[in-house]
Symmetry: C2
């Protein structure tokens, strides 16, 4: 049995509560399938939402933090953030406009993000980013130098206050609308990866690795 | 010539400034291709980032605002938000881990979001959401009733402080790394729409409309 994360007032799904998901295993599965997150933070009363690559390592999220990190320099206890991850699975076409919807899986993680300082933890975050994007890539590519690691701001958010929201299945219409002569159903949507495009500066003698040619998500 | 939106201190692309895009036409093209946005707002010092459907109408964004709208009830001049839209176009595999990247197109729009009250504007926003999801659908589906329109919170954000950030093309490596025997290139990624799945409760005599069978994005 996967651990349940008791929802807080801030993570409980209020609208469409039946879509709320609070067990760690389901939440982590969504996080691990996505590769882009949207990080929200506030500066001078203005919210900002920045898309960035991320990876989960154990019970923490790591993400690139160039924008947010400018605020973090002197804040050792971190800044409040919201990291949101969204996977879209389909357009839901109901008989009424009002009941049109999306099938989706999203995760919202709240907390204080801190800068990663420990070199070992930073190195492991680089490893996680790379392997998440493309399993097998880390062993092939040149590892980050000390200078490159210093030049990269990586933020860490512990996964303590987190919930997911999931919609699946067909449209749900109001009872009288089921008699309308309107086509209803779902158009599934998913990400597709095309054939890899070799960099023109890449020596043709270098074979395309199997982890590239066989990549699927 | 498309109008250029002069970047403000808040929308100027600071990191990788060559990726900044400030002309209205390019920005609108990204907004119109995406169908999910991430809305950021703050409540009691905590940022929240909520994924939601949206549409552009002229020089404004409209989005569903059930979460944010709870804050808006008594704030006629609106709340500060950031609406971010991200399209992912490819994994960029450099010879070094440090230079791995994504090809993407993103837009960030800042400003104050207000609740849409005028019935005509609300009706037009419903129309825009539906036609954006699936052009042709509006004419087929049952239109929102007065009660449904009242039950839906729609927010409006004028597109005045907005910029885009775009990365395209092959990996850019440090000069000495080009000699490494490492495959480098791009794995393109895009959204695919599968065959529509008819709702089991949908009368088989109702034909699947052409706008559903021929849907492409």
């Amino acid at each position: 049995m996967s651990e349940t994360l008791p929802p807080t007032e801030r993570t409980r799904v209020v609208r469409e509560p039946q879509r709320g998901v609070y067990d760690r295993e389901s939440i982590y599965k969504i996080l691990d399938e996505a590769f882009v997150c949207h990080v929200g933070f506030s500066m001078d009363g203005q919210p900002y939402v920045i898309p960035t690559l991320f990876a989960r390592v154990g019970d923490a999220l790591y993400f690139h933090g160039s924008a947010a990190s400018r605020m973090l320099r002197n804040l050792s206890d971190g800044i409040p953030v919201c990291v949101t991850v969204t996977l879209t699975d389909g357009f839901v076409l109901a008989r009424s406009v009002f009941n049109h919807s999306m099938n989706y899986r999203s995760v919202i993680a709240l907390g204080r993000a801190t800068l990663v300082d420990a070199p070992q933890e930073k190195f492991e975050a680089f490893h996680a980013f790379t392997e998440k994007l493309l399993p097998g890539r880390w062993n092939d590519a040149r590892k980050p130098s000390e200078k490159e690691q210093k030049a990269t701001s990586i933020l860490r958010l512990p996964l303590t206050e987190v919930s997911a929201k999931v919609r699946t299945g067909p449209p749900i219409d109001d009872d009288p609308d089921y008699d309308l002569p309107v086509w209803a159903g779902v158009i599934p949507v998913h990400l597709t990866f095309d054939s890899p495009v070799r960099d023109e500066k890449c020596d043709p003698a270098i074979p395309t690795p199997a982890y590239v040619t066989s990549y699927k998500r």
